[in-house]
Amino acid sequence: MRSRFDVRAEVQRRARLALDGVERLVGGLGTAMLALVVLVLLVVTAMAAALGVGLLVLPAVLRAVRAVADRERARLSRWGPEIIAPGPVPDRLRAALADRAVRRELGWLVGYAPLGLALGVLGLGLPINAVRDGTFVLWWRLVPAEFATSSLGWPPAHSWPGAVAVSLLGVLWAVVVVGLGPGMARLQAGPGRWLLAPDPDADLSLRITRLTTTRAAALDAHATELRRIERSLHDGAQNRLVTVAVLVGAARRAVERDPANAAALLGRAQDAAEQALAELRTVARSILPPVLADRGLAGALSGLAVNCTVPCRIELDVPGRCAASVEATAYFVVAEALTNIVKHSGAEHASVTVRRRVDRLLLSIADDGHGGADEHGGSGLAGIRRRTEAHDGILTVTSPPGGPTTLEVDLPCGS
């Protein structure tokens, strides 16, 4: 029993790897074709430059090389360890040609244009041939005789044994794809991994720069968050407690003079104390909503959607996690926006989309209600704006009279 499962798992694994490999090879075909175009452009420009014309165009061509190289970096970063892009190409030609990153890119271009193209064509062609030849035995009699060959054009198959031979060839193609596909993809990625990655030395300093900026951003996000908490404590809970002290003080003075009034004052003091507790609870929740800690952003937002009385669809595409304070802000914004929709919009449907684009978290909350949302109308919009801007985020409200209403929030992730 066990070995059969092992075999099945192994076959599945191999198939997945092969598919992955084919996908990468075909993706590489795209950048390889771009590389070839730019290589031709470069050679033409360089020859023109040797004749004295075209020197002015050369920096632009180098920037085009950089653009293609960046595309390849992004592609490779999706499949493996991230390749960090170098700084911009120097403006002056001499400096650009002396730039190590530019030189390495030129080397990559020369190597990758033919190699990537050839491997990409194989990656695209082999699976097609495998399917064509593999199924040949099913349809060879339906096509004119001059087409009845294998995908190589040889041998001609005018009989059943020939057709079967061609189909076996298809199986061979499939075996080649499964066996060599992943290796070919690695080979195709080789020049990029080798030459497009920064120098080991440059790599470290780039990394430090990047870490420094992201760390500063994270610290900033935390500082604004602490300021917000400090403010809600001083202006909310503390004022409530001072009110309690004031009312209790007044009640103490009134006990003898006017006992009925003293009781009324104590009643108000108690109300204020309860409000202080409620505000403290709100502050505590706003620091880190417990559901966010327990279930992450996706779980927390789904919970909001489920509890929303207007049917709400959630789409979430957020790989990894953002800084806790950013997630808390996103959660707060969605919660507040959904409350608004239920209270004011008259909508029948709502939708929430959350996406992550590099270092930004993009939220979009839409409804099909009657629109006309007003930030100064005492709705939660002002709170959403305050909270968003405390994180250097951007809030855009689109709400024409008659609807629909869309809230777009763009938050830096701080990580």
């Binding site: 202006d235 004022n239 407690l241 009110t243 003075r253």
Partner: protein, 218 residues
Amino acid sequence: MRIVIAEDDALLREGLALLLRAESLDVVGTAGTPDELLAAIDAHRPDVAIVDVRMPPTHTDEGIVAAVEARRRHPDLAVLVLSAYVEKTFATDLLAGGAARLGYLLKERVGRVETFLDALHRVASGGTAIDPEVVAQLFALSRQDISLARLSPRERDVLALMAEGLGNAAIAERLFVTEGAIHKHIRSIFAKLDLAPDERTDRRVAAVLHYLENSHPA
């Protein structure tokens, strides 16, 4: 006594008004923003303005700025500042114009009605009322000051209470000594701070100001 209250928190504002009215004080106006405060002072000409430090729009020092402006427009106006926490720079901003008719209290003192009313009356009648917590923090900073370092611990206590705005009798009561003893301490303080008798300046105010000024972080 005619009073204007500036506090952006509506509940606390009402609570304060309630407390003061129950004490038969005349709350002639209330304000939730610095602009409303200045308008209320211009309209009602109160004796005292009770001002919260943090007010809209940024909730930092709008109250202090408004209080300084109000005192510029109406030099006779007494101002009692209420603060959520001790902020030395705010206190010194206000004191730059002299300590007379000025109070700076932590918000929670308001609940101790007797102390609060005492401070209010003192400020209204031309005196000073600085929160003991503020004085303590200023003192902690002033340890390095040479002339203040010459004071004995007892003299420092006396000076600190003077800075709070208490009179000799009240200081004597707090320190459980006779008024005569307080007189002796004060004379000694004046001598150590090189404050010679002078017709034009009040040595008592000068001593307190010296103390407060030297409490600035360098």
